[in-house]
Each structure stands twice: as structure tokens, then as C-alpha cells.
């Protein structure tokens, strides 16, 4: 038992490294927030554009969405960070992580929002149009409010899954939780900092999961 505690929860290492881990937590929160906002907004925007049914744009959206859903985010992160400088574009590691994860989240979110829009019965569109709403008004006031509510559970799941990928930042040196933890682990030769990192992720993401569950009930409406 003592050996276990020594390996994973060594008190003096906890005391020594918690400020570092905390710094990592703040970086992770920053990136996660930025990713959630830009990713979901871009996803919603793409879903709205797709609903306009313009063939060429739809094809482009589908290609983008399928590519970013098929590629492992780590591969995209590495290509952008190590590849783009070769053609003269170098982006700071923080921005690379934010950009890539935003695009990945947008790709998944677009599909989810689009499915939500499609699931709204035709009668809702017709009722709105018959009272004088145009296409965008119908979308904004009748279809999207319903579609977005329907998509809260899958969107939450996907958002959590993708913001957890902020841990990928460690391979390009973004000083987020995992990066701080692995650095501390190699200095100390002990897994305690990694456990602290794991704990930080749990503390960080459990409220997000709980928030998703809350939104799910909060936005539910009585169905006929």
C-alpha cells in the first residue's frame, strides 16, 4: 500500500508540483473555452448554410466534415504545426491546438445540428411560412430553437470528447495539464504528477458533463 502511495500520490511531490499543474489547468480551460465557442458556432453556421441547399456549398461542407471526422485530431495537429512552417506559415502552438480542435468540433457539430434541423417535421416549416415567415425567420425562430434543444445530449458528449483532446497540445509544447504533468513526471521520475493531471481532468470535466445533463432537462419541453 505504501509503495502504491509512493508511486502515485507522493505528498512532497504534490506539494511541489501543484502550482505547475494549476497553470496547466488554466491553459486547458482557456483553450477548451475557445474551442467550444468557435467550434459550436462554426458548426451551427455550417449547418445553417447547408440548409440553404446550395449544391456546391453543400459538397464543400460534406468534404470538410467527412475529412475532419475521419482524421485523428493528432494527425491534423502535427501536420499544421510541423508542416505549415515549410510553406512559410507558422502558427503558435496554442493557436494551432485551438484552430484544429475548433475545426474538428465544428465538423462533428455540423452533422449533429444538421440532423437536428432535418428532424423537425415539415409541418413546422409550413406553419411558419403560412404566417409570413421567410426561410431564415423560420429557421431562426421555429426550427433552430427546437433542433438545438434536441441536439443538446449528443452535442455535449461530442464537445466533452473533443475538448479532452486539448491533451494533444502536449506533443507541440502547449503548456496545458498533460504537458505540465509529463514534464514534472520526467523531472521527478515519479507518476504522482500524472495522477494530479488525471485528477485535474476529472475535476474539470465532471461539471461539464453535469451541465450537459442539466441543460438536457432544462431545455426539454413537454411533447405531445
Amino acid at each position: 500500500m505504501n509503495a502504491f502511495l509512493e508511486a502515485f500520490f507522493k505528498p512532497n511531490l504534490i506539494a511541489q508540483y501543484w502550482p505547475l499543474i494549476l497553470k496547466g489547468v488554466l491553459v486547458t480551460i482557456e483553450i477548451a473555452f475557445a474551442v467550444v465557442i468557435t467550434g459550436l458556432l462554426l458548426g451551427l453556421l455550417l449547418a445553417v448554410i447547408r440548409s440553404l441547399q446550395i449544391k456546391l456549398l453543400n459538397a464543400l461542407i460534406v468534404v470538410f466534415v467527412d475529412m475532419f471526422r475521419a482524421l485523428p485530431p493528432l494527425v491534423i495537429v502535427l501536420i499544421v504545426y510541423f508542416g505549415l512552417p515549410n510553406i512559410g506559415i507558422s502558427i503558435p502552438s496554442f493557436a494551432v491546438l485551438w484552430l484544429v480542435l475548433s475545426l474538428v468540433l465544428a465538423a462533428f457539430a455540423e452533422e449533429i445540428f444538421w440532423a437536428g434541423i432535418l428532424s423537425i417535421p415539415k409541418g413546422q416549416w409550413e406553419a411558419a411560412r403560412s404566417t409570413g415567415f421567410g426561410f431564415l425567420g423560420t429557421l431562426a425562430y421555429i426550427v433552430l430553437p427546437q433542433a438545438v434543444r434536441l441536439t443538446v445530449p449528443p452535442i455535449t458528449n461530442r464537445t466533452v470528447a473533443i475538448t479532452k483532446n486539448t491533451a494533444l497540445g502536449t506533443v507541440i509544447g502547449v503548456p496545458e495539464i498533460l504537458n505540465q504533468a509529463t514534464t514534472a513526471q520526467s523531472f521527478s521520475g515519479n507518476a504522482t504528477p500524472l495522477m494530479m493531471g488525471a485528477l485535474a481532468y476529472v475535476i474539470l470535466f465532471i461539471p461539464v458533463v453535469a451541465l450537459g445533463r442539466f441543460l438536457e432537462t432544462r431545455f426539454a419541453w413537454r411533447r405531445s
Binding site: G132, G134, G137, Y141, Q146, S224
Partner: protein
């Protein structure tokens, strides 16, 4: 006939190779209640849905209150506000209260303030006997109540005419009466109505004119007493006989 409020000429509608409407001519005078009956697939719902271009006609002309609905220069959204529509499946917005349903277009299309829209919305709900249910969500209302809210939603915009697409077909029999009572009240108040429905007793009592459609054409039109009592065409006779069997 005084000058018609709705004037449909040579209206045709194809769905792919299927001709659903094959040349419809129809005039509806202000304050008239016109009933459209006919076997399923006869094109009666499509005709109704073409009248506010919810269904895009393949060819033909539609004038509403003198305005050419097919003209490119016509703002169809503005015209639709003046043509109320009630659907078989109610199509209330499930995420809004009854009052929210009734006032949404007033606020977001007409641009009225919330207070103004609420006052008009409550008046419309009162007219269909549901002012007390203003804060209820559609899921909390019976089918008959939902349909009356849907009628109030259309009425709130003060339309010059109402289209009813089988308004009672999705209702349990005991709930039909409440919806028909509202439609009777509308008729008494002088609303122009075009109704697709199977409520023959209501047609007999309230309609000024009954149109019998079959295979995308108007076969016969006359006052209800005549079309139900002494139909002229064989197809009409067969349909009426089938109904009253």
C-alpha cells in the same frame, strides 16, 4: 358574384409525371364559405396549398384581393399573412406556449411589441375559447384545443381569408365539435373560408357552395342542398352515395 377575393385560373400542378391538378378555375367571393370534397388523391389539399403557394403551382394564375400571387414582384410572405391557414396536424410550435404560438408572427413578422402582440394574441385565443390556456404548451392540450390554438394563430394576423386543410381529420370524434363551433363563429363573423374536409354535416349546414373534385378537376359545384340532395354528375352521385351509405 361580387368581385372575387380569390381567383384561381387554369391552375395545374404536377408532382413529377403525376398530374395532381389538371386545370382548376375557382372564384371565391368575400365572406363566402366554400367546401371542397372529393375522394383521396383528387387534389383537393394540393389545390388548397397552392392558394398561398405553400405548394408551387406548375402553371396557372392566382389572384388574391387583386394581387397576382404568381408574379415575381409579389412579396409572397406579406400576402401569406393575409391568408390564414389551418393544418390537419395542427403544426403548433411545441417549444412555445399557446400564447407564444399565437404571437410569434405578430412580433417577428409584423414587428409589434410584446405587449401589443400579447393583447392581440389573447384576444385571438379568447375568440376560440382558450384564453385560459394561454400559458399551456401544446403537449398539455387536447387535439381539439391544439387545433383551436392553431386557428387563433392564423386569426391573430387578421387575415382576409382562411384556408382549412382537413382541420378535424386528426381529431377524436368527441373533439370535432369544438373546432367546428369555432369555424361556425368565423363564418357568422363574415370570414371568407375555403375548407377541405370530410365533415359533410357541417358542409350541409354552413357552406355556401360545395365543390366536388376528382382526378385533379372540379367535377361539380353547387349549393350544399343541391350537391348532397341531387348531384348532377355520376361521379358525384357515386361519391355522395358512398358517404351516406
Amino acid at each position: 358574384m361580387t368581385s372575387p377575393i380569390l381567383h384561381v385560373r387554369a391552375l395545374r400542378k404536377n408532382f413529377g409525371p403525376t398530374e395532381v391538378l389538371r386545370g382548376i378555375d375557382l372564384k371565391i367571393a368575400p365572406q363566402e364559405l366554400v367546401f371542397v370534397i372529393g375522394p383521396s388523391g383528387s387534389g383537393k389539399s394540393t389545390l388548397l396549398r397552392c392558394c398561398n403557394r405553400l405548394e408551387e403551382p406548375t402553371s396557372g394564375a392566382i389572384h388574391f384581393d387583386g394581387v397576382d400571387l404568381m408574379a415575381r414582384s409579389t412579396d409572397i410572405n406579406a400576402m401569406r399573412r393575409r391568408i390564414g391557414m389551418v393544418f390537419q396536424s395542427f403544426n403548433l410550435y411545441p417549444h412555445m406556449t399557446a400564447l407564444g404560438n399565437v404571437t410569434l408572427a405578430l412580433r417577428k413578422v409584423v414587428g409589434k411589441s410584446r405587449a401589443e402582440a400579447d393583447a392581440l394574441g389573447l384576444a385571438a385565443l379568447d375568440r376560440v375559447g382558450l384564453a385560459a390556456k394561454a400559458k399551456s404548451y401544446p403537449g398539455e392540450l387536447s387535439g381539439g384545443q391544439q387545433q383551436r390554438v392553431a386557428i387563433a394563430r392564423a386569426l391573430a394576423l387578421e387575415p382576409a381569408m382562411m384556408l382549412f386543410d382537413e382541420p378535424t381529420s386528426a381529431l377524436d370524434p368527441e373533439l370535432v365539435g369544438s373546432v367546428l363551433a369555432v369555424m361556425r363563429e368565423l363564418k357568422a363573423a363574415g370570414m371568407t373560408m375555403l375548407v377541405v374536409s370530410h365533415e359533410m354535416r357541417f358542409a350541409r349546414d354552413a357552406a355556401d357552395r360545395v365543390i366536388f373534385m376528382d382526378h385533379g378537376l372540379i367535377v361539380e359545384e353547387s349549393p350544399p342542398a343541391q350537391i348532397f340532395g341531387a348531384p348532377q354528375e355520376t361521379r358525384t352521385q357515386a361519391f355522395i352515395a358512398e358517404l351516406t351509405r
